[in-house]
């Protein structure tokens, strides 16, 4: 952490927090659907099992990161961040423009409930098991994305701890709000978060890819803010240019 600069640590923690918030909200919706239909036992069991698998993955693969040469690590993570971050930005721009429909947590909750009910009709004896597996899959799949984001924004400059803290804060925030409201967190402005996270991850992607290729960015870490400004301007500009009337989106 000695080489940590707050101009990188701030965006890293912020990106890890916001991206994890999006993923944890999605996982929470499924876990809540399971709990509503079958009670908290299978929901908690599935969630706990998935968290155990994720922890095992981190403990097994985490130490290997230290063995990868820094430039190779920066280049690999940089390219993966470009693919992931620009993918999020693309989707957020298209949703913002009305070309793609917005993600709806209430609809996701209803869809998961229907799937579980159909499974219950087919196989009533093993419904607890099926419900637990649903929670397990949701937490495992969204958790994998959280782990990647934490590694991607944290590993390049020894900020894994700070990024993990951001992700943990997102989990606590979602759980705290979820326990209180006890319904899908559909009020979370998911596309705005995704837009911001896409901008930050794509900026980190350009930064690490460049450093991995031996480019010394002028201004050092501060170049990240310039990249973020340019990605934001391009994304917002494209959303504006491509914007469609609401009636057309509904069709």
């Amino acid at each position: 952490m000695e080489s940590m600069s707050w101009s990188v640590a701030g965006p890293a923690v912020g990106a890890a927090f916001a991206a994890s918030l999006v993923e944890v909200v999605e996982a929470f919706t499924i876990v809540l659907a399971v709990a509503t239909l079958r009670g908290w036992r299978p929901a908690v069991a599935g969630t706990g099992a998935a968290l155990a698998v994720l922890a095992l993955l981190v403990l097994t693969l985490g130490p290997l990161l230290d063995r990868v040469p820094l430039h190779a690590l920066q280049l690999t993570i940089g390219v993966l961040l470009l693919l992931f971050g620009m993918g999020w930005l693309r989707k957020a721009v298209l949703r913002s423009a009305g070309v793609l429909a917005l993600h709806d947590e209430d609809a996701a909750f209803a869809a998961e409930t229907i799937v579980l009910r159909q499974e219950a009709e087919k196989n009533p004896a093993s419904l607890d098991w099926i419900a637990g597996l649903g929670a397990f899959k949701a937490v495992l799949l969204e958790g994998l994305e959280v782990i990647f984001i934490v590694i991607a924004v944290g590993a390049g400059r020894g900020m894994l701890g700070a990024a993990a803290l951001g992700a943990a804060a997102a989990c606590v925030a979602v759980l705290a709000v979820g326990v209180v409201v006890h319904r899908p967190l559909s009020k979370v402005p998911e596309n705005t978060l995704k837009f911001g996270v896409g901008v930050m991850l794509a900026s980190f992607g350009v930064f690490w890819t460049g450093e991995g290729l031996g480019i010394e960015w002028p201004g050092g870490d501060l170049a990240l803010f310039v990249f973020a400004g340019l990605f934001l301007a391009t994304g917002a500009g494209m959303a504006n240019v491509l914007r469609r009337p609401a009636a057309e989106v509904a069709r």
Partner: protein
């Protein structure tokens, strides 16, 4: 087995959700690496090409997707 398939599909989808975007990014990074290592272009110029290329890819893939829908 189906769970493993879903996990692998999720991981693949994380990075390859849009084939054109992924292909363009990989081509761009390869081209920038060649500019630096083979053509011996000033790394800062190559860096500018990387940044500009990424911004152009975002604009192009969003416009192309919107046109198709």
């Amino acid at each position: 087995m189906s769970l493993l398939k879903e996990v692998l599909a999720e991981l693949f989808g994380m990075f390859m959700a849009d084939a054109r975007l992924s292909g363009a990014v990989l081509l761009l990074v390869g081209a920038v690496a060649l500019l630096i290592d083979v053509a011996k272009v000033d790394p800062l110029v190559a860096g500018a090409a990387l940044l500009t290329g990424c911004l152009m890819i975002v604009a192009a893939v969003t416009a192309a997707t919107a046109r198709r829908r």
